[in-house]
């Protein structure tokens, strides 16, 4: 018997047993699609975390300190950072406004207590180095300047999304908005940082930190961000700052010096754990799919055994019977596998859009691996009864009821 005949016999057999073939395919489809979607989801999350850490910038040092006399601590710390100019490129106070923020331009009002998190305005206060330390670049207009800070100028630089929400594509430069009733002139707009609106960086409104007296109920500021020259400088600056702050805040005080690189390491660890977890779920779904395939295949052993008996009685060799069932299992699992990949890709696109607002694609390696495993399962379980029954005496196989 040649190969094309074996294919013909197998195709006829599949067509004649549509229900069973469809169920077997379904097992492969579900198993495969589940694995692809789950693993892609984990990868999407991974990607998102990485993007988040990258947006925080590298060689950035976050510093916070508080003690009995916050004002003097802040002044001393700021001055100390400025002294470290051989290690540090820039330093800025970083103050967020935590009380209610109402931003108005014309008829447009954004209220931090009224709107969703995704549309909530956030006022941050810093100096002319704020954009350098926080990885911002200017898209339009100008950045804060030294004199803005010195002169208590009521100017602001808008984040990309903030500009879009307030001005709706009109040019914001030179316009005046109000923040909690105080007028501020827009001098610049930052370039987009965070297309997925994950960190809120594009919803920031930067004003000179000296304006904290006007906008914040308390006028103390104690958080800074410094940008170091490179990795080794970052570590050295952290060590120096640590020693300085220990002496500064005293026993009862609190301080904090950290670089997001350290978070990133923790985050990577978390991602790894999550991936192991999702890998486990994927393995389980593949196993469940495999058991489904196995069940359907084994249920038909009797039916197949009789058919094999007939084929043997009319002169089929063992190897042509095995070839037929092998091709049959390959065709069912192959077609099921292709459908499974299609469902997996569509599912991944939907999940990626819904969860991350990303165009997510499963990795080819995972797809190929899951395909091979589920097809191997199907073929293994499809072939098992054929191998068993084709070794029987024809009369025994024919007697199967």
């Amino acid at each position: 018997m040649n190969l094309s005949q074996a294919f013909k016999i197998a195709a006829k057999s599949i067509a004649a047993k549509k229900g069973r073939s469809a169920l077997t395919m379904l097992g492969v489809i579900i198993g495969l699609a589940a694995v692809i979607i789950l693993v892609s989801y984990a990868q999407g999350q991974n990607e998102q975390m990485r993007a988040y850490y990258e947006s925080l910038g590298t060689n950035v040092i976050n510093i916070e300190a508080s003690g009995p006399n916050s004002k003097s601590i802040s002044d001393a710390l700021y001055d100390y950072c400025l002294e470290l100019d051989d290690l540090v490129l820039g330093v800025t106070p970083q103050i967020q406004m935590y009380n209610q923020t109402v931003v108005k331009y014309g008829a447009k009002t954004l209220d931090s207590y009224q709107s969703n998190w995704e549309e909530s305005p956030q006022v941050v206060m810093g100096n002319q180095q704020y954009s350098l330390c926080n990885n911002y670049t200017i898209a339009k207009g100008r950045d804060l300047a030294y004199l803005d800070v010195e002169n208590y100028s009521q100017v602001c630089v808008l984040g990309h999304k903030m500009a879009e929400m307030l001005f709706n594509y009109a040019d914001p430069i030179g316009k005046t908005i109000t923040i909690n009733g105080y007028p501020f002139e827009v001098v610049g707009v930052f370039a987009q940082q965070d297309p997925q609106n994950m960190t809120g960086k594009d919803r920031n409104i930067l004003v000179p930190y000296t304006m904290t007296r006007v906008l914040n109920s308390s006028n103390s500021w104690s958080a800074f961000v410094a940008k170091a020259k490179d990795g080794p400088s970052t570590n050295r600056a952290i060590t120096l700052l640590d020693g300085f702050l220990k002496g500064l805040v005293g026993e009862s005080g609190y301080y904090y010096v950290q670089t997001p690189n350290q978070w990133q390491e923790q985050g990577d660890e978390q991602i790894k754990m999550q991936q192991r977890f999702l890998g486990g779920i994927a393995a389980i779904s593949l196993a469940v799919g495999g058991i489904g395939i196995m069940n359907i295949m084994l249920v038909t052993v009797t039916e197949r055994t009789r058919e094999i008996g007939i084929r043997k009685a009319i002169g089929a060799e063992r190897r042509s019977i095995i070839a037929q069932f092998l091709i049959e299992a390959c065709m069912i699992c192959g077609i099921g596998g292709l459908f499974g990949i299609a469902v997996g890709y569509i599912g991944t696109l939907i999940v990626g859009k819904a969860s991350f607002n990303l165009i997510l694609f499963p990795s080819p390696g995972i797809t190929a691996g899951a395909f091979l495993i589920s097809v191997a399962l199907g073929i293994g379980f499809g072939l098992y009864p054929a191998i068993k029954a084709s070794g029987l005496q024809p009369v025994v196989a024919l007697r199967a009821e």
Binding site: M1, N2, Q5, I9, K12, S13, A15, A16, K17, E307, G309, I310, R311, K312, A313, I314, G315, A316, E317, R318, R319, S320, Q393, P394, V395, V396, L398
Partner: protein, 231 residues
């Protein structure tokens, strides 16, 4: 001699309390062109004998030469070739593959034999015409009556032109009129030169054979012409 069997035993659970001797020392010779009916009560061992003669089963002990070849020494693969080329089977339960239509069922042994597609079409057509079923070629077994199914099975058995046709209760599942028709076909094949071995418990069918072999408790108790068997 076409079939030459000496001291054939088929013993199940040998040496145990539940030992069953389905064949208990059978010796039998069948020549080319004979029409032999093997008769006996159910459980007498006649089906076991036919299964071994048809290479569907192997004996526990004994010699079996088919057309001069020692069958007991053959491999699984060589036995498959013998079943394919030398023997055509007709079963009581038809044993057609339900997923395939009449044409495809008849075609199957020719595929396993490696006959080319063109020659296959010729042979299938010829075999179906021989049993008067050319018009039902595209029907599945489930769409046919018992008599028609058995005729498909006969067509499948004769499609490869085997020298021996073995029929195990071929009329057992049919009413007497269709049974008679099936028997007529078998006699026609015999007239054309085939050797027919027919297993039956129905004396009126056995009475149409030249030679009758009666089996009881795994032993041959009579072997001769039908008059001597009292039929």
């Amino acid at each position: 001699m076409l079939i030459d069997v000496k001291n054939l035993y088929k013993i199940y659970n040998e040496g145990q309390e539940s030992e069953v001797r389905a064949l208990d020392g059978v010796s039998l010779e069948i020549d080319y062109g004979e029409f032999v009916a093997i008769i006996g009560a159910s459980g007498s061992g006649k089906s076991t004998l036919m299964n071994i003669l048809g290479c569907l089963d192997i004996p526990t002990y004994g010699d079996y030469h088919l057309d001069g070849v020692d069958v007991t020494a053959l491999s699984d693969r060589q036995l498959a070739h013998i079943r394919n080329k030398k023997i055509g089977f007709i079963f009581q339960g038809f044993n057609l593959i339900p997923a395939l239509n009449a044409w495809e069922n008849v075609e199957l042994p020719l595929i396993y034999q490696g006959v080319s597609m063109f020659r296959r079409a010729e042979r299938v057509e010829e075999a179906l015409e021989r049993v008067n079923l050319a018009d039902r070629a595209r029907h599945k077994p489930t769409e046919m009556s018992g008599g028609q199914q058995q005729r498909v099975a006969i067509a499948r058995a004769i499609a490869t032109h085997p020298p021996i046709i073995m029929a195990d209760e071929p009329t057992g599942a049919l009413d007497s009129r269709t049974g008679k028709h099936v028997l007529e076909i078998l006699h026609g094949l015999h007239d054309e030169g085939s050797t027919i071995i027919l297993i039956t418990h129905d004396n009126s069918i056995a009475a149409t054979a030249q030679r009758v072999v009666r089996i009881s408790d795994g032993r041959i108790v009579y072997d001769g012409d039908r008059e001597g068997a009292g039929l």
